[in-house]
């Protein structure tokens, strides 16, 4: 496996605004990479830089081993699927598909044949003579993808391609895009603000914020071992609970601060006493037990049920969200005990937000797994 895309110390400035800050990224051939982050984090800028639509200010950008810094978009041999699809409105589906071939001077019959082959795989064969305005959102999406596929590019770039579709279609297209990627053995870079899309589709997830890569790695690694509080809160739904805490005198417990009340929790490792930190627990990693049986007790605030799962919000400050599969018996006003799996407890430095690794993997905390070789945690 060779590296298909390489970014070394890439920076991008818009005047005084620093949009991309020292980006390092190495993407192997055949990898599906998701760039994810809140709006304005630089993920689209990064993608457009890969396409050549934005010029990077400093650093090195390579595609298939060749330096791309000053190569214009049309010579980069990458295909992009736009959020708006950017279909040519004055051309039929077939003309849209064959555009890149015609520009390259491919013979008409040959281009037509290629278009028919691609259309057959994406289910567009019966729509070849239609104009984009006569297509539904999902069909336009397929045309946009087919237009990229027909070129056999070095890399596929997706710029939030599903954000204009309704929820049901989005879930369906998610699988379709991933299946397509596998079938073509393509290299794909996929920008999204939806962490679920990133988690479900990608081999390698890059979480960005304010022009910085906060963390990158395999999806489940990000979920299991978020490098900082931002990634911990961004990945996973419903979001992780954060509770301010202080390491107790003995160094083996932390005291969770619920404002009026406190709760003591063993951390199964040793930290220097008095350290102020933030404890993070995912809602799905808290188990409800009888009062007094768990690590600590909380009063129940709101109970919401979706049928398959029950969301319980505690009447504490800060609130704790607990997800229980099935229909729990807890009612508002009850006092419940909470059991917490120490292996699933995350500790973050309050000041820097960084993950605090407990000293040596002792009770219940698994040793750090090696992250995907293509990246390293920040």
């Amino acid at each position: 496996m060779s590296l298909q895309i390489e970014l070394n110390g890439v920076n991008k400035f818009y005047g005084a605004f620093h949009a991309l800050k020292d980006i390092h990224l190495a993407i192997e051939e055949g990898t599906f990479v998701a760039l994810v982050g809140p709006s304005g984090c630089g993920k689209s800028t990064l993608l457009r830089s890969l396409a050549g639509l934005e010029k990077i200010s400093t650093g090195e950008m390579k595609i298939a081993g060749a330096l791309m810094n000053n190569v214009p978009p049309r010579k980069r041999d990458v295909a992009m699927v736009f959020q708006s699809y950017a279909l040519y409105p004055h051309m039929t589906v077939e003309e849209n598909l064959t555009y890149s071939l015609r520009i390259r001077g491919v013979k008409k019959a040959e281009a037509r044949k290629a278009a028919e082959e691609v259309a057959a795989t994406t289910g567009l064969s019966h729509l070849m003579k239609r104009y984009p305005r006569e297509l539904s959102g999902g069909q336009r999406q397929r045309v946009a993808m087919s237009r990229a596929i027909i070129r056999h590019p070095k890399a596929f770039l997706f710029d939030e391609p599903l954000s204009n579709l309704d929820a049901a279609l989005r879930v369906h297209m998610r699988k379709e895009i991933r299946a397509l990627h596998d079938r073509l053995n393509a290299t794909s870079v996929y920008v999204t603000h939806d962490q679920i899309e990133a988690m479900t589709m990608a081999d390698h997830v890059v979480v960005m914020r304010d022009g910085i890569i906060e963390q990158q790695g395999r999806p489940l690694d990000l979920y299991d071992r978020p490098a900082n509080k931002f990634v911990a809160g961004f990945i996973g739904s419903p979001a992780m609970n954060f509770i301010p805490a202080i390491v107790a005198e003995d160094g083996a417990h932390i005291v969770l601060d619920f404002g009026k009340t406190e709760a003591k929790l063993a951390i199964g490792s040793r930290l220097s006493p008095g350290t102020s930190l933030t404890a993070g627990i995912r809602p799905e990693h808290i188990k409800i037990v009888a009062e007094g049986q768990g690590a600590f007790d909380v009063p129940v605030g709101i109970v919401e049920s979706t049928g398959s799962a029950t969301f319980i919000t505690s009447a504490t400050q800060p609130e704790l969200t607990i997800v229980e599969t099935g229909r729990g018996g807890a009612k508002s006003g009850d006092i419940i005990g909470l059991a917490i799996d120490l292996a699933q407890l995350h500790l973050f430095d309050t000041a820097t937000g960084r993950r605090i690794e407990p000293q040596s993997g002792r009770v219940g905390i698994e040793p750090p797994r090696h992250l995907h070789l293509a990246g390293h945690a920040n």
């Binding site: 396409a51 409105p89 520009i103």
Partner: protein, 300 residues
Amino acid sequence: MKRILSSVTDGKGFDIGLVVLPLGFLFVMSGLPLVYNVVMSFQEVDMFSLGSFVRPFVGFRNYVDLFSQPETRPILFNTALFVVASIAGQFAIGFGLALFFWTNFPGASWLRGLFLVSWVMPGLVVGAIWNWILSGDFGVLNFLLRETGVIDGNIFWRSDPNYSLWAVIIANIWLGTSFNMILLSVGLSGIPKDLYEAAELDGANALQRFWTITLPMMRSTIGAIIALGLIFTLQQFDLFAGITSGGPNNSSNVTQYWAWDLSFRQYDFAKGATISVIMIVFVMLASVVYVRSTRHEVRG
């Protein structure tokens, strides 16, 4: 009565009112004169029968007479040349400027606004200014051409039959270019930027993008502009009155000026009306093109 009043406030009557009022206005102010003009072209009209509507019917005699006059053909040819050259010049320069300002360099919108000055100027004023510019003895155009070595002696733009029509065409191009530019600028800004990005990634260079994206996406705008240009140039009267008055010896005369000249200077109202009817046909064709091209706009 009450029901009619309430329907006006309720909706349906109001809708009808909105349609009827402008239609009535158009009929009285444009429709009737148009019909009257057509009727006149089939009648014998002189100074004394001008006041009455009932005049001797002469069939197509006015038309036959008109086409047997020796100056008719040259004037029709002049009109065609004036229309084609004016539109070509206005469109080519206007499109060039629109593309130039589209690059959006600093100050582009400000400078583009400045270009509109020529559009807001009255035709007679433009004519007076171009009179000076085109003047044979002291005109600045002759000076420029002489100094750059294009010509050896002065050209008497307005009095030389070989140049008189071109004198008006040059002024008309100057007058209409900015209007073309503004409409084309609007059309250009209506093309989504991501189409160009997609085309760029698909491998198209700047020239290919212009031919495959810009031009086809501008088709309706271009159709509308050519149609409007045809209507405006066929209407262009002030410049002829201001620069050459159709002379010398009809060398720069065109139908719209000739119609006025026949009707109101020679009092041959029937002939004037006849020429107008011929022009109506062309303007009608242009307006059909205009309506069609604005209706079939390409939308994404």
